[in-house]
């Protein structure tokens, strides 16, 4: 089945995209806790992952008010109906990829939450305010690791640069995807053109990259547009869903 064949209302599409991204990021971080270079880093992976899963639950609650309904979204939805971005789905045990992904994703999330502060739903506004405070800890963690890894050795710097080159275009997709014009209108938000979203995000990320001696990859606009949507569920998404649903599928609907 084509991944874009399953359609929902624009506002729901928006919350699904945000929730699915948080679910993917949260699952991966809790799954890789233990692969970090030191005990404290592993505590952080687990903590950040838990927090992202909590944020995912809030966004899912905008579509499904009951726990059973939210469980169906997570455990019973076809892979084709997931709206997560490639960046969020990126599943790697390499520390350099994890650090750069965390850094790029948190900057994207900060932009999303800033925009949600103007949503026409007071509950969404309150949650966005709260999440911004919590996300600051995540953002600081990844930025500190980016700084440590790039400054301590040339090999560390080389690996981070390589990871940045690899993830850069996927980050572009994640910046633009959720804020489709119809979704923004349904939430009472000003229309956010992809170029404007990208400009805001680049305005924050490029100075930080330069500060750490990283070169931002040049990207052809055409390439970004070509990769705007995934046609089929990617291997990482299928792997994540497989892990997440392994126990559930032993006895769907059971109370453990």
């Amino acid at each position: 089945m084509d991944r874009t064949a399953i359609t929902v209302q624009p506002a729901q599409e928006f919350f699904l995209a945000l929730a699915d991204d948080e679910l993917m990021v949260g699952h991966i971080l809790t799954a890789v806790a233990g692969w970090g270079p030191e005990l404290e880093a592993n505590l952080a992976l687990s903590s950040i992952g838990q927090d992202e899963l909590g944020h995912a639950e809030f966004f899912y609650s905008r579509l499904e008010p009951t726990e059973a309904g939210r469980n169906r979204l997570v455990y019973d939805r076809p892979a084709e109906a997931f709206r997560s971005s490639r960046l969020a789905e990126r599943y790697s045990l390499s520390w350099d990829i994890l650090v750069v992904k965390g850094f790029l994703y948190e900057q994207i999330e900060a932009g999303r939450l800033s925009r949600l502060l103007a949503a026409n739903d007071p509950e969404v506004q309150a949650a966005a305010r709260r999440m911004r405070v919590e996300e600051q800890f995540h953002e600081d963690f990844w930025r500190i690791w980016l700084e440590r890894t790039t400054s301590l050795s040339t090999e560390g710097h080389r690996r981070i640069q390589s990871a940045l080159d690899e993830l850069w275009v996927d980050a572009f997709e994640a910046v633009c995807l959720p804020f489709q014009a119809e979704a923004a209108a349904a939430l009472g938000l000003a229309a956010c053109a992809p170029d404007e979203l990208l400009a805001d995000w680049l305005g924050k990320v490029i100075p930080l990259c330069k500060q750490f001696g990283l070169t931002v990859p040049a990207v052809e606009a055409e390439l970004v547009h070509q990769r705007a949507k995934q046609d089929q569920p990617g291997a990482d998404l299928l792997r994540i869903l497989g892990e997440m649903r392994e126990v559930y599928q032993l006895a769907p609907g059971a109370n453990w």
């Binding site: 949260g26 903590s47 927090d51 899963l53 639950e57 007071p122 309150a126 911004r132 405070v133 919590e134």
Partner: protein, 160 residues
């Protein structure tokens, strides 16, 4: 307790006996319980999560329900998580702060960059070791004076 004495005071006293599953301190002293509504045997508890992803929330909810249903006259209990106003360490009562200090957990510093106070010896000669501790709401610090590790609640209020 006979039916008819069910009121705010009774409910708050019962909630004071409910401990946070991640540290043995009352949820009312931690400032998690924000308000209570009582009407015809139905109790609605408004509570604020310390962090939205706190894995203890379902346990806190079930502990509240279990404790309040044990009161005579309570037929139904609902727990609603509220984000406005958001929880912050400022909501912790004086007795809650004393309980935390006894467990080796210090409060956030009044301003960013200021050293936290060691809950064991009171020294400010301390350093943050990790922003992330054993739970979402705590970080890990080290006291250079008494050479003890300790935990500190994260400051989640200042920028909200």
């Amino acid at each position: 307790m006979p039916i008819g004495t069910l009121n705010q005071e009774t409910i708050w006293a019962a909630l004071d006996e409910v401990e946070d599953p991640e540290m043995p301190v009352s949820i009312t002293r931690l400032g998690i319980v924000r308000s209570v509504e009582v009407e015809d045997g139905r109790v609605l508890v408004h509570a604020s999560p310390t962090f939205m992803g706190c894995p203890a929330l379902p346990t806190i909810r079930s502990r509240i329900i279990e404790r309040l249903l044990a009161l005579d006259g309570v037929a139904e209990v609902e727990v609603e998580w509220v984000l406005t106003p958001g929880w912050s360490p400022k909501q912790i009562s004086a007795s809650g702060r004393a309980d935390l200090r006894g467990l080796g957990v210090s409060m956030p510093t009044p301003s960013k960059g200021e050293a936290s106070v060691c809950p064991y010896c009171g020294s400010s000669n301390t350093v943050v070791e990790s922003l992330f501790g054993p739970t979402l709401c705590r970080s890990i610090s080290y006291c250079r004076s008494c050479r003890s590790g300790f935990e500190q609640l994260k400051d989640v209020a200042s920028s909200e």
